[in-house]
Symmetry: C2
Subunit: 757 residues, 2 copies
């Protein structure tokens, strides 16, 4: 769209919004009618402020040089951000932690047999792209927190390297024992690949970007298109974050200079085998050196070769040696104190560190956060005062392992558990549709916000656009019916992969992750090509979705900060828990039926009859049919929750019928204090089985997915891993947690009832 | 398996089979108990005769040189086959027809813009492969029955080139009008691609083999593996066979020297635009010359490029000029006269012509047929006399357009309609599982045969192995239950693609197509590499499945020829018709719901909201919601059929309870004569709408699939093409046909009842 057309478009939009606001003021959860009217006025002022031109300038400046942990420009950026926050009137400071951050001193990948090939391990400068040649400041291509190693072994191709891939390898008579596993990026979080490879006896691991997943198969490659070129490499952390994220040396406590630190040899979250990432240019000769069975169809990528599994004859020498330095990281923390409830904190964050220049990851999200902070400063000057304290955070060290946010959350754990209302995160941002994931207590609030944000490309709200996309993608008529009939769009649950993790999973603070995307795509993730040139050519060149993100996240912050009653909605939570409950029962049922069927097929000779005598095939061993589990404790807890949610929402509805009189009579501080604890109640101090750092009992990243969420994880993972006793015990524990949750909601409801009668 | 082990294995099998036959003789449909015992003895003798060594020798000889229509070796092979039939004691002769068979004089494909590239259009000789260098006798790479042409136009990529691909192109704002369409082989029969391209205004068509479909994506390429090498080309006919197959000049009558012939300009079955096939070596530079939208994900092949749709900037010059010669074709026809019912004919065929050397296609099937004929000769010498006349046929001209079988069937149409009991076809054969498709009246018979054939790789029957494969592949528990509980495995219906077409679709003779496959795979189809070297290295090197095919097809012939009562089973037909009926109702329902939903989505703005403003997207136009159709005539006919099938099978069951006394009393000739007409009753003299040559009302190749079957085609294709009046009328017509069928079965049942009472 030409710039002029855009201008007209937005003026028209402004008129529409204004016209609507004169006619009637739609209700906002947590606000009485009167305060909703005032709130909407401030929000409109707020949303008019964020400037795409500013965001473009911030991005240019923040991504001008590589700014990873420990780099000079990382510190320069931190100081610059601090100055901005201060300039805009926020009470800002930098908090510094000292964390383990290894960087490689030696790296080598060489094919020794049957032919020779030395991997480049280097991304070339491109003449079009001005920042791509900043070699002296760039981190080399590597996977942080891989242990050192020097191994020579036959190569084996393991697809995405997740547990089911190894099951299939076993069926095909291929073992990774003693081999170097080469896995492709994708499907799971990258740290899962060396973890599972090591569990299967591999002595080293290579992770490469297949052109099927983010290279030429998807679209034209950089610089003529947005996708990964032949020598582009995805850096990234392979720390075992599903065990615990943050500084490996200081689990559970802030990595302050005086903190007690683990010895390196006692750290659980380093890999067990050496790992390096590869471009597809480097990977192709290695994969071509494999024979053995042809890879199953879904394992084959887009390289012009026949994908074989090996092991060998390709033999590879992999060498990696890192410094094991400690580096300072800089979190910038900026506050606007609450006028009514200073001890209730609304926290908003985005990281500022990158793997290299990181225009998309994370600067595209950070520039929105910065414009929000500026806009809050502006409306403060115009007289707005938030009821609650607002804290804006720019985290350092997200890339290596959520370091900045985790250390800050651990360091301030007690205060945060007492005061934390919500944490709103963002990270990379792009052109397209609003993605909102997080705590279901915030489902209604974020749906309301999304209805008030205009999509920059279409003359509809971002909520409407999301709804229509989901209708377009729905497979079953029932799904479409729900999308059309249900008041709110369901939000997905959070796994891991960005800075909300410590807030939600460790502290139990209701969290949301917000961002736009889905239209642009590309393959520069964690490479030197994620820079201003790429972003301004292929992603969100006009920063229109940067502004939409600032408007969305900022409006959410404003509502959380200003609501009389904290806008948690338990109907959303109840619906989500119902769904998870059904999923768990289905999982147990399907697993039982599958094992029964497989045993039957083994007995009737299916595996023998359908194996090709010219190929190796190892039939699956017969398995015990899983017992029925006792789901009653969870079902009963859900029933209790159902009743308390009904009581609370009935009372809540009454408070919203008048102009604010009932709320004025209520002891808001008491009710809010109860509500504040509702997400905390979903945690248990002892955490999840085998990973005590993860305390939330409804949401966690999967132990074998890394990013992907496992809801009601103690139960779900026990079933998946066929630990029946553990599953039964977890059902009892989670049932108790949900009973406690029911009690909290019930008592908040009772408190509201007192104001009504 | 080493040869010695095999020997032991088969001796053991022999003992098992013999042991079973002493204990008890399983019933055979159409045989009384006494005759079943005698029959089984002859069958065992028969099945012991086919020799893998002979088949290997036949294949070597028949595929030693290119033997396409009109080539010297085609005639030499015909004479050689004639001599063999005679040598084995069959009454054999050659029938000659004269058919249109164009071969190219000029071929050229050249990229003119934005770069220059001249396609090779030539498959190179390989030093390992002794017959690959017989250049002087090889047909060039071309698509037979393409019209001549000389066109220069921008290129457009159309995926598989089937109608739904053009719908998607329309959504993406891409038109093939005035362009040369490049389609990949696969999904539909190749002749559909230029037909649909021309319907959409394309001026030329290129068809290439993508490595995704039969090249390196699937496995190592020839000569190191079985799959298509870079320069391998699939030749093949593009005659519009769904309109009518056989000699284009003589539709409906035999192409004898004196036959009335159409003028070339009046022939309907030539393409409307020039067509040439390409290797992926030749296709890659052309595809790389396209820009425009990136192809949808499922359209992308395995070349190391980003697939774009175009049109252009790639501009192509396509030139093709053929001689339009008439050539003689040679069908070898060999008879064993029937001793009891010489006027009931069991026909068995396989073609002998190839595109080049054709070891797999068709020689692998033909050598089995030859060993069957030799074995029948042997047991004839030992005293066996078939009740019915058996006719063994080796067809010429199958590749260009089912020429030999069609012309013979048309020439002998009257006799065949009177005498034809069944036609058993085979074609290419390979290692793996029995595939049996055809008339459902033969479903029970072929199931019984399959239970008596031993799989050469596993110590189970080929029936059992197929059943277990289908269980392994079944997606739903209900499918598995049916596979486990139903007496017979369901057989698929026949579309087109081999020589059964004229017998089944034009004449209404119950037909079966038999072959083994599914284990070996490969990509030499219709190339110079389909030769003895390839077959003996990668397909069925020990000819074990060649022998299995001879045993299977031969046993079917023996049973059809010797049964007292023709072994048609109408329960199979009834079940198939029930299934088709449900499919048609579901098709109509789903189509209605889809259109309703799409209209609704258009109305609520789904298409506008979800289109990327940076990409062209043309939303689908609103469509009229299809009316409800009156399926009652079909449902009523099915009910009538149901009752008559019950009556017939009840009577039949009684005949099988005794030693043969009831059958002895029955007028078998009268019953058989009625049964003989049961498949003929499923035809209508006026044929299908728009294609009168296709007379069968239950089975036909799809007008837009070419190979793929459309069952109850008049109704199904009318619904698919949204011709509601035509659909309603077709339901009435097919209802009448099924009522007639019910009457025939009923009267056969009545005839049997007379013998019982």
């Amino acid at each position: 769209m030409p710039r002029f057309a855009l201008l007209v478009f937005f003026c028209t939009l402004g008129l529409i919004v204004m016209a609507a606001s004169i006619d009637e003021v739609p209700a906002i959860a947590g606000f009485s009618k009167n305060s909703a009217r005032i709130q909407r006025e401030w929000e409109q002022k707020f949303r008019a402020i964020p400037s795409t031109e500013n965001m473009r300038e911030y991005m240019k400046r923040l991504s001008a040089r590589p700014h990873h942990v420990g780099s000079p420009y990382d510190k320069e950026n931190a100081d610059w951000i601090l100055s901005r926050f201060k300039e805009w009137g926020l009470d800002a400071h930098i908090e510094t932690f000292e964390v383990l951050f290894p960087a490689p001193q030696e790296r080598g990948v060489e094919l020794l047999e049957p032919t020779k090939f030395v991997a480049k391990l280097q991304e070339p400068r491109l003449p079009e792209d001005p920042t791509s040649g900043q070699y002296s400041e760039q981190l080399p291509t590597y996977n942080a927190y891989s242990i050192d190693g020097d191994v020579t072994a036959p190569l084996v191709y393991v697809n995405y390297g997740v547990p089911e891939d190894y099951e299939q390898l076993e069926r095909l008579g291929v073992s990774a024992k003693g081999a170097i596993a080469i896995a492709r990026y994708g499907k799971s979080w990258r740290g899962i690949k060396p973890k599972v490879a090591a569990e299967h006896g591999a002595v080293g691991c290579l992770i490469y970007s297949d052109p099927r997943d983010d290279g030429y198969f998807e679209g034209d490659v950089f610089p003529s298109g947005a996708w990964r070129p032949k020598d582009g490499v995805q850096r990234g952390s392979v720390m075992d974050m599903p065990t615990y994220p943050g500084d490996p040396l200081t689990p559970g406590v802030g990595a302050t200079p005086g903190a007690r630190r683990l010895d390196l040899k006692n750290v659980q979250t380093l890999t067990k085998i050496p790992v390096l990432p590869l471009s597809y240019g480097d990977a192709q000769p290695l994969l071509q050196a494999l024979s053995g069975p042809v890879a199953p169809e879904s394992w084959r990528g887009a390289l012009p070769i026949t994908y074989h599994l090996g092991p060998g004859p390709g033999k590879v020498h992999l060498k990696l040696k890192s410094n094991w330095d400690r580096k300072a990281i800089y979190d910038i923390i900026a506050k606007i104190p609450g006028s009514a409830y200073p001890n209730e904190w609304v926290i908003r964050g985005n990281h500022h560190d990158a793997w290299v220049n990181g225009a998309q990851d994370p600067i595209s999200g950070l520039v929105a956060l910065l414009e929000e902070a500026r806009a809050l400063g502006e409306i403060s000057k115009a007289g707005w005062k938030p009821k609650r304290t607002i804290i804006y955070c720019a985290w350092d060290g997200e890339e290596p392992g959520l370091l900045g946010s985790t250390e800050w959350a651990e360091e301030h754990a007690d205060e945060l558990r007492q005061h934390g209302v919500a944490y709103i995160n963002s990270d990379s941002n792009s052109r397209g549709y609003l993605s909102a994931t997080g705590s279901h207590t915030l489902e209604k609030m974020i749906n309301e916000v999304a209805r008030d944000i205009q999509d920059p490309e279409k003359q509809i709200s971002v909520w409407k656009r999301s709804q229509l996309l989901q209708i377009a993608r729905a497979k079953e008529p029932e799904e479409r019916e729900e999308l059309r009939e249900r008041a709110d769009l369901r939000i997905g649950a959070l796994g891991s992969g960005s800075d909300y993790t410590a807030f939600l999973d460790h502290l139990g603070i209701a969290s949301l992750n917000l961002g736009y995307g889905g239209e642009a795509g590309g393959g520069i993730y964690h490479s030197i090509y994620d820079d201003f040139y790429w972003y301004s050519h292929f992603d969100d060149p006009d920063m229109l979705y940067g502004r939409a993100l600032a408007q969305t996240a900022g409006t959410a912050v404003l509502r959380l900060a200003d609501a009389e009653l904290l806008p948690y909605d338990f109907a959303g939570l109840r619906d989500a828990l119902r769904k998870y409950m059904s999923e768990l029962e289905k999982l147990a049922h399907d697993q039982r039926e599958e094992i029964r069927e497989r045993n039957k097929e083994a007995e009737e000779g299916v595996f023998t009859a359908t194996s090709d005598p010219k190929k190796t095939f190892v039939p699956p061993a017969p398995q015990d049919v899983p017992p029925y589990l006792n789901f009653a404790p969870l079902r009963n807890a859900l029933d209790a929750l159902e009743r308390s949610v009904e009581r609370f929402h009935k009372a809540l509805a009454t408070t919203q019928k008048d102009g604010g009189e009932v709320l004025a009579r209520a002891s808001l501080e008491t009710v809010n204090q109860k509500l504040l604890l509702s997400e905390r109640t979903l945690t248990r101090p002892e955490g999840l089985p085998g990973r005590p750092w993860f305390k939330h009992q409804v949401y966690a990243p999967g132990f074998y997915t890394g990013y992907g969420v496992k809801t009601i994880p103690a139960v779900r993972e026990a079933i998946e891993q066929k630990q029946w006793k553990e599953a039964d015990a977890a059902i009892v524990r989670v049932g108790k947690v949900l009973q406690d949750e029911a009690a909290v909601i019930d008592s908040a409801g009772a408190e509201l009832e007192r104001a009504i009668h």
